[in-house]
Amino acid sequence: MNLFLHDRIDLNKIMKVTLSQLAIALAITGASYANTSKAQSVALERHINLSAKNTALKSVLKKVAAMADVKFVYSKDVINADQLVSVDANDITLKDALNNLLNQHNIKYEVINNAIVLDNKPSTGSDITITVTGTVKSSTGETLPGVAVAVKGTTTGVSTDANGKYSIKVPDNNSVLVFTFIGFTRLEVPVNGKTNLDVVLRDDVRQVNEVVVTALGIKRSSRELGYATQQVNGKDLTAGRPTNLATGLSGKVAGLQIIQTNNQIDAGDQVRVVLRGNRSFSGNNQALLVLDGVVAPLTYLNSINPNDVESVNILKGANAAALYGSEASNGVMIVTTKHGKKDVNEVTYTNTTSLNQLAYFPKMQTQFGGGSGQDIYGFPQYTPFENQNFGDRFDGSIRPIGRPLPDGTIQMVPYSNQSGEKEKFFNTGVDEQNDLSYTTGNDNGSTYFNIQRLNSKGYVPGDKSNRTAIRLNGTRNYNKFKLDYTFDYTQRNIDKSNAQLYNNVINTPAEIPLSQYSDVNSLYGNLNNYFNDYGLNPYYYLQQVRNTERKDDLLGSLTLGYDVAPWLNLTAKGGINTSTRNGKDITQAINYSDFATASGKAIANPQSRQAGEDDYSLFKSRMEGSFLATFKKKIGDFNANLILGTQVIQESTRVLQVGTSFLVVPDFYNIGSRAGDASVTENNTKYRREGAFGDLTVGYKNYLFLHASGRNDWDSRLSKENRSFFYPSVDLSWVFTDALPFLKDNKILNYGKLRGGIAKVSAVQFDPYQLQATFSVGSGFPYGNTAGYSVGNTVYAPNLKPEQTVSKEIGLELGFLNNRISLETAAYWETTSDQEILKGINISNATGFTNAIINTGSGQNHGFEVSLKGTPIVNQDNGFNWNISVNYSYNQNKAISLYQGLPNLSIQNDNYIVVGQPYPVLMGSGFQTDGQGHTVVDATSGYPKLSQTNLLFGQTTPKNILGVSTSLSYHHFTLAGTAEYRGGSVIYNGAGSTMDFSGISYGSATNGRERFVYPNSVIETSPGVYVPNTNVTTNSGGIDYWAGSTTRYGVMQNYVTSAAFIKIRELSLGYEVPVEYLRGIRFIKRASFALVGRNLFMFRPKSNPYSDPEFNNTTDNAQGSTGLNQTPPTRIYGFTASFTL
């Protein structure tokens, strides 16, 4: 019986064996199989699942053999077992699969005694007259191996080789060649007498049977899915040559909002990712990132090399929660990195160098110089050492700045606006990223290895960082076992200024030649002589407060799969993810000269400030293990797939911090060398979760699919009574174009699917230890040996429950013109109740407490998404292609109830949850109005009157998001771009306040610093009676108004603007070097180059002249508040080159 195992017998030895001879041989030995002969036909009816792309025929056959329990017999002389083939058999019979697989390669088969014997099909008989050769490429210029090339109307067919080349014999000049390949649109080209036909295959916009990676890495046909997913393939991701995944995804998925809240050197940690808006009031609303099956922090989005990514699949709703647990309630981003390809040994080197340049600076006034005083008539006076800009009008005269130096000299400058001086402070940042990856594979498995190094120089002078990442992915096959491992280690080192530089730079009067002070040891740049009485030289400030940090992140997973039987697979999986941060903040000591202090220089008093430092160490780990059993069964027209699983997760953190503000040895930053007590903190947390789940999909005739899941969790963070909770989901998918006979084979509408689902997710978002009140160490304690404790300010409830979200959604997916146009829409309604108020609901301090950690209130969230993709232009002849995709989403939510009738809840940064309003909304100080939009001013001072209570300004999350991404390719060139619009929200611009206070804002000079009638104002003549104010001018139009906290800079209303923007997020021009040019250079297989620009343009409403409205103080739910901790926005220009060896 060894005879039939094709890999153990050298059929070459049986030279010229014909099929009939074999048949005889089999018939003889067949006697021993007599009792199993009835299984022969059954084998062909057996259902299999098989997906392979560009795989050698022999290994595909081997897989089929294992799966269907059959054997293949063929001669290597007759059948080219090494030819590359592709097959995508999803639960079809072996017979159909073999027909699909073999017909296109001109192979026929016959079942003899449980063996499937292969042979070449007889030739068509007609005389072969022409041989056509050529190369097949993708629209991005890559050569495509394994493409099936067939002569239309015949059974003649070949496939392209590893270099995408083919050679086929056609009967005559009128023959038509048909090119088919998975992932690409079928193409027919008439030969028309040509002997060389190079063709370009167009990406299939959306494959009807596209395989998407769903929860736990389970591959599903998209038609089966009753919930919303959107897959971004590596190719779409890298069209714009982004340097990180976060930028590569922006604008490409409907309903996905990626917010980069800062652009400092370590901004990668300051990213917020939200799918379908906010559900939870104060809990996490961010999507779950699953990297190669391991839950990873979202900051990974900024370190994953997009070139490593095979695909990103976004599960937008909560229906995947059964398999991932409650963390998936906000949607999941499943990132699958590349694995080695079988029989492909390649080394790819990529270099990406990008320049980071200051892009936008707020508009500033250019008319008035330094000063804050007024003469007795109220005229502004020039002050040479002021940092406020309330001096007199520029007149070009030569004036002193700063205070006289000890030798009596003083710096003299023209009293006029020095344009560009503030902008010059910022450098051009440089990021240089080198990536080297190696991929290999054979029958026994595959390996993918990547090493990456990124060196960054920040655009803030002196900031620098580097990142070294190693990734090793692999698979190993041992008979029915399959081992899959991923390992990723990233080390980052950051050295950055902690200074609030932007504030400092803005607080520099317009006549100051700031860039002259870049040398902090220069005469006028040094500490004692710097002109500013109230601020440090920003160039010195850079070095005065600094942070260094090392981050080590480790992510690994090991999966062991075992095919017990064709209908049962068992998989065990373990994953670990750790991150370690070790850092030091330092503050240099400052000592002013006696002269500086004695001169009255304000900042020189106190004369000395002590050095300080803070050391911190943070360790976080997450371990998870899961076990899955997958059953597959087909009964008649029904096809069932059941997954049963269990999961255990443990997360722990440990934070240690020591610090002092009194170091005693100059420039020596060690906690040991201090005076007085050190501050010391320690914090540890640990929690565990267990889950057991089931997930069932039943398909009927491959067009109707019912999916249901259920999961029970046990969570250590809840009390014993509440610890166990269950949540189910159900959804339905109906491919009506297959189900309804009259729609079948419709030329226009080729694909249509209607789906709907409902899911409930219960999520525990509370930190551990939130069930019991604690005492906190009293402020200042211990004093020597005297200890003191305070009753904590938080009320705890022992019976906390999980937060519950019920989400309903419906969706429609349509494919037109053979999927040249595809449309996906979804609408959803979510209700989240028993909201977990993580930091506690705010309660009146008169209760004795400030917060109560409770489950309370509910909120509703709804919206819809439209995703339209198309290929408007495909022109085979001139190689011109145009792809476009448009993603639009609308999201709106509303807080329905809070706690015991409480109307609102603060979630920090002036963001509130207010009953009856979208959440969160921005609230803060503002002016009184007459109820008709006029501001009430004081009849005497002419100043607007403050509203005694806070005003509500509007929601801080965008209602509408529109992303458009497009690519144009012409021969080897590809031009790609992505634009995004977000709108419908407001933001508080802290920069505006500072700029008004310092008198540098453009607005502060618009009335020439003269008294003015407050626009659109009224005067209250008696309670409730208002008359328009036409002649009462403000007491001041200068410093008293603009730097007045009750009139201008301290009133939030003055700086709340629309947060809308349109951004051109990326624009790139790529060039793929044609293979023929590389022929001379033997060792290079492929080469490509690209020019990339990111954030090139940003359009905002005129009312917001301040900054990028995407920037924010935090990455939590309280969006809509910026300050000066965010440096100004930048543009990025880059170049990338990639070589494959």
Binding site: Q374, Y534, Y562, L570, A572, G600, A602, P606, R609, Q610, S626, F627, T646, Q647, T660, S661, F662, N684, T685, R688, E690, D715, S716, R717, P768, Y769, A773, T774, F775, S776, V777, G778, S779, G780, F781, Y783, N785, G788, V791, N793, A797, N842, S844, N845, A846, T847, G848, F849, T850, A852, L902, P903, L946, Q948, N950, N1035, D1040, G1044, S1045, T1046
Partner: protein, 503 residues
């Protein structure tokens, strides 16, 4: 194959280690204790009272300028609200006072309940006394406040407000109970409990005097209310009945947990208005932001008051030879009002980072007694109480003997020469309370309009030229307790008076 299956299944079972019963019982807080000794709560509570009242910048930020002691440096653009009397419900010091005192009250409330549970009357009595101290300060700033409904956590999440007068009357009762308890505890407080008491070291006698003196302060606050005499006299009779008396010379209540010149460990007043641990070359921001007021400098100078050099430095933080104060009001920064050219807070107030923080000084008690005696509420020699009060103020500041000062031929200092004895007492009380408890001076001014010539801000934004008579309720109340705070009506800092303020 079977063995492989078993291997897999056992792996699955191992994963579900939850089968082990205690696997999920790991929710015990390793970071903060869930139970501590009452004494440890007492130590912190007393320290927090000091840090939230007389040691807090909130007790000086507006009152010091409004009452004529200090002004704001011409080198700093802040303090617009204080300079203009214009503020909102977001005004910082008012929010701090509200938040910190209620927070502190919760600790005392816990101690009172613990004391009741453990039958340890010392904790109950101290808690009652200190609750009265905090609530009384809250009433003086805000009028009607949550009282009966307060401190009940989520059992009363939106506490109702009580009338200020009713709160005052109940505080008087509380202090009676406390004093009676202290009386029974004299000599009986255990040394262990005494060690936690960072004010009186468990001396129940002194605690009793503290409670009585506090009650006297509360009663005198109501002196101008018509028809209130009978009530006041009746309440004083109860004080007399417990026989513990009032705080006498050297018996002032001061808190000191062991302040030391180290970051976060300094005396709170010193750490706010004095110097960082690095010393004299490194004054705090507030030390440079607050400068002497012209009005106060003139008062002490005109009366040859030796306390001048202790309450204030010479100009340029002691580097100069002369004293100088600034006029109250200007907003635009004026170089002449820089600390270089003006006097700063003096060494009599900033004795050192390790100084105890007085909550109720002996001289305040003596001034209270002098006023009570002058009004006929208590018996005793008004003159000797008055003179003793002035002397103790001198003593506190380190200014030596006051006898020359008291015997000057001046109606402002000399008992015999003063025509209006009450004005003399109250004027000297104003002079003594400078930098000790400016909120008391603000309260006395609201009650009696003494000193009558305190300058009103001439700030251009000060459109209502009246020294405010109260604070607005904090914004957090409008956010989280709106129906109850709105029930207090529209609040104006110029017209919504505290019940005892009838001027």
């Amino acid at each position: 194959m079977k063995s492989k299956l078993i291997l897999f299944c056992s792996a699955a079972v191992t994963l579900l280690g939850g089968c082990a019963k205690n696997y999920l019982d790991i929710n015990t807080n390793p970071n903060s204790p869930t139970n501590v000794a009452s004494g440890l709560v007492l130590s912190n509570a007393l320290n927090r009272t000091a840090a939230s009242t007389t040691g807090s910048s909130s007790f000086y930020q507006f009152a010091s300028a409004w009452i004529g002691y200090w002004n704001y440096s011409g080198a700093v653009a802040a303090f617009a609200e204080e300079r203009s009397y214009q503020f909102t419900t977001n005004y910082g010091p008012a929010n701090s006072i509200w938040n910190n005192l209620y927070d502190n009250l919760e600790d005392y409330d816990y101690l009172e309940k613990q004391g009741n549970t453990t039958k340890d009357a010392f904790y109950t009595a101290v808690a009652k006394t200190m609750k009265a101290y905090d609530f009384h300060n809250l009433v003086d700033v805000f009028g009607n406040i949550p009282y009966n409904d307060a401190l009940k956590a989520t059992a009363s999440i939106r506490p109702k407000y009580d009338k200020d007068q009713a709160v005052y009357e109940d505080l008087a009762k509380k202090l009676d109970t406390a004093a009676t308890l202290f009386k029974g505890l004299v000599g009986k407080v255990s040394s262990a409990d005494g060690a936690y008491d960072i004010m009186y070291k468990g001396d129940a006698q002194k605690w009793g005097k503290f409670a009585n003196t506090l009650k006297l302060r509360i009663l005198l606050r109501q002196s101008q209310m018509p028809g209130r005499d009978a009530y006041i006299k009746g309440e004083i009779a109860k004080i007399t009945a417990n026989g513990l008396g009032f705080i006498g010379v050297g018996e002032g209540g001061s808190v000191n947990p062991g302040y030391t010149n180290s970051t976060g460990k300094q005396n709170p007043f010193y750490s706010s208005f004095g110097y960082t641990p690095a010393g004299k070359s490194s004054p705090t921001d507030n030390h440079r932001y607050y400068i002497a007021s012209e009005y106060a400098i003139n008062f002490y100078q005109n009366n040859n008051d030796p306390r001048l050099g202790y309450l204030y430095t010479t100009i340029n933080d002691g580097a100069g030879t002369t004293y100088s104060g600034s006029r109250f009001g200007p907003t635009a920064q004026s170089p002449q009002d820089n600390p270089q050219n003006r006097s700063a807070i003096g060494t009599g107030l900033l004795k050192g980072a390790d100084m105890a923080q007085p909550l109720l000084t002996d001289f305040e008690s003596l001034f209270l007694q002098a006023e009570a005696a002058q009004r006929g509420y208590i018996t005793g020699s008004v003159q000797s109480l008055y003179e003793s009060a002035v002397q103790q103020s001198f003593t506190y500041l380190g200014a030596g003997s006051a006898s020359e000062y008291l015997n000057m031929p001046s109606a402002v200092t000399n008992w015999g020469q003063a025509a209006d004895k009450l004005t003399l007492i109250m004027t000297q009380k104003w002079a003594a309370m400078n930098g000790i408890n400016d909120m008391e001076s603000w309260a006395d001014f609201r009650r009696l309009n003494i000193p009558a010539d305190i300058p009103v801000s001439d700030n251009p934004a000060a459109t209502t030229r009246i020294i405010p008579i109260r604070m607005l309720y904090p914004q957090s109340e409008y956010n989280y307790n709106p129906d109850n705070v709105l029930a207090q009506g529209q609040i104006s800092q110029f017209t919504s008076r505290i019940f005892w303020d009838i001027n």
